[in-house]
């Protein structure tokens, strides 16, 4: 991918450097590009810029005891003392554990597919299918698969593990791992297809060399294949980390509504609940600000790390 990018840049540079492009550009009025950007800009200002400014303002407003509103950090203070908020943060953190699990599994499956056993294209299509299902559809289906007489408990009983059977989504201890499994179930296909696509473009000479020198399956992939996949793995990890903070609402809403009690509440659900069930937009906005800052912080960190790495020869 890096190489493709360089060649694209090269094309642009050629176009720019030549004599003719310059002349044609003079034919555009200086405001022409902005006119092209206008429709997209209208939507972006409406859907992103205005709300991002508004949440900061709303988060600082709280109903005063005397009626009317006060400006200050009341909402933030409430948020920090609310046990539901702490639970939500903790649960989002726990969900992060699924990222290494699904990365490892996606790597394993993509390596197996890469070997192109008979029917590998079918396997690839099957593994990818869950990713195109709507999250609510997945969530609703898993309610039944996790139910008392559903497939999960039945399979456990049939294999002599009957003592493990339980109400997966109703038990505070098992609810979060159960939701996590569903998230892994759906996201795994994305990782597998992504990694496989990159593997297909790995130059083979290094693999040949490693093989000639007698490296075994594990060694070849550990020391040759996986290092070549570094940027795509990094991309997948960052996308999934963001997902765990900001795209898990639909799983929780359809399967548990944050319950039982607070045992599966997450930040998005907390924001939604405060805004639309408890009618406290101020608190919802304060949490939204915190979530936005956290996600931006992660991206910033990621870019810093990337820049530092690209220094040492990527």
């Amino acid at each position: 991918m890096t190489r493709a990018h360089t060649s694209q840049k090269a094309t642009v540079a050629q176009g720019r450097g030549g004599e003719r492009p310059k002349r044609s550009r003079l034919r555009n009025a200086p405001w022409t590009p902005y006119l092209y950007l206008l429709p997209a800009a209208v939507f972006i200002v409406l859907v992103f810029v205005y709300p991002l400014i508004e949440i900061v303002r709303t988060s600082l407003q709280a109903p005063a005891a005397t009626g009317g509103t006060t400006f200050g950090f009341t909402n933030y203070k409430f948020m920090l003392t609310d046990p539901a908020f702490r639970q939500a943060v903790l649960h989002n953190m726990i969900l992060l554990l699924s990222v290494p699990i699904m990365t490892a599994l996606a790597l394993l499956f993509s390596l197996l597919l890469w070997e192109q056993v008979r029917g590998w294209k079918w396997y690839r299509a099957f593994i990818f299918t869950p990713y195109i299902l709507a999250i609510p559809v997945v969530g609703i289906t898993f309610i039944y698969l996790y139910s008392a007489d559903g497939i999960v408990n039945t399979a456990l009983k049939a294999s002599g593990l009957g003592f493990l059977t339980q109400d997966w989504l109703g038990n505070p201890k098992s609810v979060l791992p159960s939701i996590m499994s569903v998230i892994i179930y759906r996201e795994l296909g994305f990782g597998t297809v992504l990694f496989l696509a990159r593997m297909m473009s790995i130059p083979t000479d290094m693999l040949d060399a490693a093989k000639t020198e007698g490296a075994n399956w594990f060694q070849v992939h550990r020391y040759v294949t996986i290092p070549q996949l570094r940027s795509v793995i990094e991309f997948f990890v960052i996308v999934e980390v963001i997902t765990m903070f900001s795209w898990v609402f639909a799983y929780v809403y359809t399967m548990t509504k944050g319950g039982p009690g607070f045992s599966s509440i997450i930040l998005e659900f907390y924001i939604w609940q405060n805004a639309f069930e408890f009618q406290s937009p101020g608190i919802a906005s304060a949490v939204a600000v915190v979530l936005m800052v956290a996600v931006s912080g992660l991206i910033f960190l990621h870019l810093r790390v990337r820049r530092a790495q690209s220094g040492d020869g990527e």
Binding site: R25, L46, L133, V193, L194, L207, F235
Partner: protein, 286 residues
């Protein structure tokens, strides 16, 4: 466990390989897990109550269309389907049009602030939608669009523009400049060049952006749930979620609804799989 690949050169990478029997076992196991929920959806949708209670796991011995008939005879399911189609089609159309214009300017014109604007737009991809929810809701209430399809369409267009602009800008930049150049010399306007030359060459990128966005919009829950509150305005996915709460004990009916919501996207995927995958992989080039 590990065998040399001497007999199978030229297939896959030339690395030491896992014994095929082992690969097949793992891949079959994961395929069964991946497909089981869909299998369950399909078999349950065609079972009557009695048969569902006698076995959840086997295909129906006497498949019935009764659930399908019941689901479709409830007017709201068809209404939800219609709403989803309208919302998805209009959002994707408007977002793609706006993104094409913006991407063309960002890829082909030079102006102050261009790179800043591009990276600004691209960075919006990471904003969690839930963060925008409260202000957008209050805004839609103020302009009296709440509980109308345009309210979600506007939000979906905004949310899908960043990825579309990113995909299309990269694609436009990779197109050869010479043809456009020649057209400009012949007196074609910049809009004419975009319409007659760039767009016809960009079908793959356009399809990628359309397929990825259509799937996303069709499957979106949070915004649809909050903005479209009356029953006849719901999208299929949001309606289905509430349907499940109502008919929890009628598994067959709920799974019929889930199947109806899934089939259009399954078809879109079968038709556009390679564009979809290309889109995902292109995203990784950031």
């Amino acid at each position: 466990m590990v065998t040399a690949s001497s007999g199978r050169e030229g297939k896959g990478p030339r690395t030491p390989k896992i014994a095929p029997i082992l690969s097949h076992t793992v891949l079959i196991a994961i395929s069964i897990v991946a497909l089981y929920p869909i299998y369950y959806m399909v078999i349950t949708a065609f079972k009557n109550r009695k048969e569902y209670l006698s076995s959840q796991f086997l295909p129906p011995l006497h498949p019935t269309l009764q659930n399908l008939r019941e689901a479709l005879s409830r007017g709201d399911l068809l209404q939800w389907m219609f709403n989803s189609v309208v919302v998805t089609a209009v959002s994707v159309l408007v977002a793609t049009a706006a993104a094409v214009l913006a991407a063309y300017a960002l890829a082909r014109m030079q102006f102050p602030g261009r790179d800043t604007i591009l990276s600004g737009i691209v960075s919006l991809m990471v904003v969690p939608p839930v963060v925008l929810l409260v202000p957008l809701f209050l805004l839609m209430v103020q302009v009296r669009l709440i509980n109308t399809l345009p309210s979600v369409i506007i939000v979906y267009v905004g949310l899908t523009i960043p990825l579309s602009v990113y995909l299309l800008t990269n694609f436009f930049r990779a197109l050869p400049y010479e043809i456009e150049e020649a057209a400009r010399m012949d007196g074609c306007s910049s809009l004419g060049v975009l319409w007659r030359i760039v767009l016809p060459l960009s079908a793959p990128a356009l399809l990628t952006s359309i397929v990825v966005n259509a799937l996303w919009v069709w499957n979106e829950l949070l915004i649809a749930l909050v903005f479209l509150q009356s029953n006849e305005r719901r999208t299929l996915v949001a309606g289905l979620t509430l349907f499940q709460g109502q008919y929890q004990v009628n598994e067959s009916l709920v799974m019929t609804g889930a199947l109806i919501a899934t089939i259009p996207m399954l078809l879109l995927y079968l038709f556009g799989a390679r564009f979809f995958i290309r889109g995902l992989v292109a995203g990784a080039g950031k």
